[in-house]
Amino acid sequence: MYAVRAGGLTKRFATTTAVDGVDLAVAPGEVRGLLGPNGAGKTTLLRMLFGLVAPDAGSVELLGRPAADPGGEALRDVGGFVEEPAFYPYLSGAANLSLLARLDGGPSAAAVTEALTRVGLDGRGGDRVAGYSTGMKQRLGLAAALLRSPRLLLLDEPTSGLDPGGTQAVTALVRELAADGVAILLSSHQIGELERVCDTYTVMRRGRVVWDGSATELICAAPASAYALATSDDEAALRIAAEHPGVRAGRARRGGLALALEADRLDGFVLALGDARVAVRRLDLLASPLETMFFALTADDAAVDRLEPEELAETVLAAS
């Protein structure tokens, strides 16, 4: 049984089709990344899963229960949030959690304290939410989701506004929950964060699913990645790159070289540099396979293969 099973989900607003016949499935213990540029329909899709928006067509099953009557029983054991988490600013973080726990019928001070501790807000639970930063609200949103001991988590940009430490903690928490069998659907623009936690990906563009598969499949299908390269002899490195099919190299504006090549060609190129006694002083990944794949799938003019390496890196990074 899937934790999420959606078939043919469609939502139209006036003349716009925000979500167009989307099929989606998330298995227990799976962390699925939901990717797409702004306006791809990710948030509307999440809102439909939560029952906040009624689909014009299609069906949703959460944990085996049809979501015909959204909310209530249909969302039992489902946690998460859509867009930035929102709370009552005149209540403290703990009081907000207590109120939400009350809505679930199980107000427990111990559970509230435990959830606050788990997201690193144990010292600030008594403060009014009005004084919380974006990152703290994000943490409180996670605490509110954890309070339900969910078997399915639907998270929209969970690391948005978090500092690097907070991002790492959320990443670790997601992996920990997945290991416990919790199914997680994670929507994010921060592709780098998704790469660390997701087992599978669904990529959306203009309301449609344009790619769906595992992380391994995605990396295999990814076009060239972009790297920054500094060598002892850049001229020689450029010549060697020109002799290697599938490797594109050019001078970077800030010095050094920019490379565009598929991951499986990297080793051969670096060995060739070594054979030619060209020392590699620096090799940095500028745009990962996931980032270039995301760009290739979602950009209006996905000319990944035609872009100069540095331009590719800049464009991909800007798009993602």
């Binding site: 298995a27 227990p28 939560f50 906040l52 909310g71 859509v82 929102a86 009081a95 997945a178």
Partner: protein, 447 residues
Amino acid sequence: MSSAAPSIPAAATRPIGGEDPIWNAFRAELQKLGAQLTIRLLALACVACPFAFAAVLKVQSGTPNDALFGVYAHSSGYALSLVLLTFAGNWGLPVIAGLIGGDLFAAEDRHGTWKTILTRSCTRIDVFVAKLLAAAALAVGLTLLLALASLLAGVLLIGANSMVDLSGVTTSSGQMLLLTVLSWLLCLLPTLAYTSIAILFSIASRNGIVGVLGPLFVALVTQLLFLIGNGVIVHLLLPGSAYLGWHGLFTAHRFLGPLVISSLVSVAWIVGCVWASLAILRRRDFLASAERRGPGWRTPVKAVAATAALVAALALLSDVGPSAVTEHRLSAAIGEEFNRLTLRQQELIGRQVPAGAKLDVLPTCNRRAAKAEGPGDWTCSLNVYLPQAHAVPFSATSVEYDVSVDAGGCFKASSPPSFIGGPTMVDAAGETVTNPLYVVYGCFNTL
């Protein structure tokens, strides 16, 4: 698609949704309302205002004569409570209803918290019913708090004294207490109607300011329509008409027709507003803020135009139906009351008034430069035929009263003190008491 675990983990043992979800949501709503500064200040005002009003009256000689029973505010605590009830019915209770119901739903839009509460264990209908019950409980609670505070302020600072009713009959303290409590209780239904209106404004506009001011606007329109129209039909259909229903309890011949009809009208307002609110909420998609609305100005302009058209239509229709205020009704009411109050005045100054005594009073009421019907300013001449020793036939003494009549059939009559005396008089025991003839309050059945 990978599947790290073969099956969905077992549900937690926590009692999620273990209780009735409406009850859970109701308690959560009370928790929110209780934490809001506005609601706390409102509760404080409900307690403090009656005491402040009573304290101000205590230290000054003037009385709020324009309100029913106002002239007795110095002599009976019940009068103070009833004066406050009149004011509350006109403005205070619609304001309370607006502050409670007007922001209850719109606040979720303002804070963006619809998605937070609707992704828990409650359906939107559960949340709607819980909010409705919380608003009703708070509206009833604050109305009763205001009633209790006004009674306590009146009784403690003025005194639990007997008082003249709206027919000129002296009513005992116990009966006044009973009638005053009953009158406040009767105002619960129209207050709930105004709360429902506030909720509808709140849900339809998604704007707390519109929700809070909406009931106040309805109260204002109600007051204006009470002033301009003669017909009884539109008046009875207004949500504020039930605030006048208690007047019929304070007359010698109690009339309950307007009370029953206006109470049923309140119920109709409640049902209509709740139904419309639920229909809007059920159909609503909870979208991101940027997607919520189309062009920003069209909806408000349409709403304002529709409201203006509705008010204009009601104003045009306010003369439809039988007139509530007629010369016959007013003359009969004021004549009978003047009779009783004159005898009451005689008793106060120590003269013997035989049981069943009655003056021969011939009342004639007219309006200045207007048709003799409808609310507004009237003049009543009361020709009193007194048996005098050397006069054959009896000589008539004429007393002129300026009478202000409202659409609910209640009036305030006042006259120069040449015949009736000043605002106070000294009774047989040497005490200064309110002169019952100085300002005469009365009510008659408008149906």
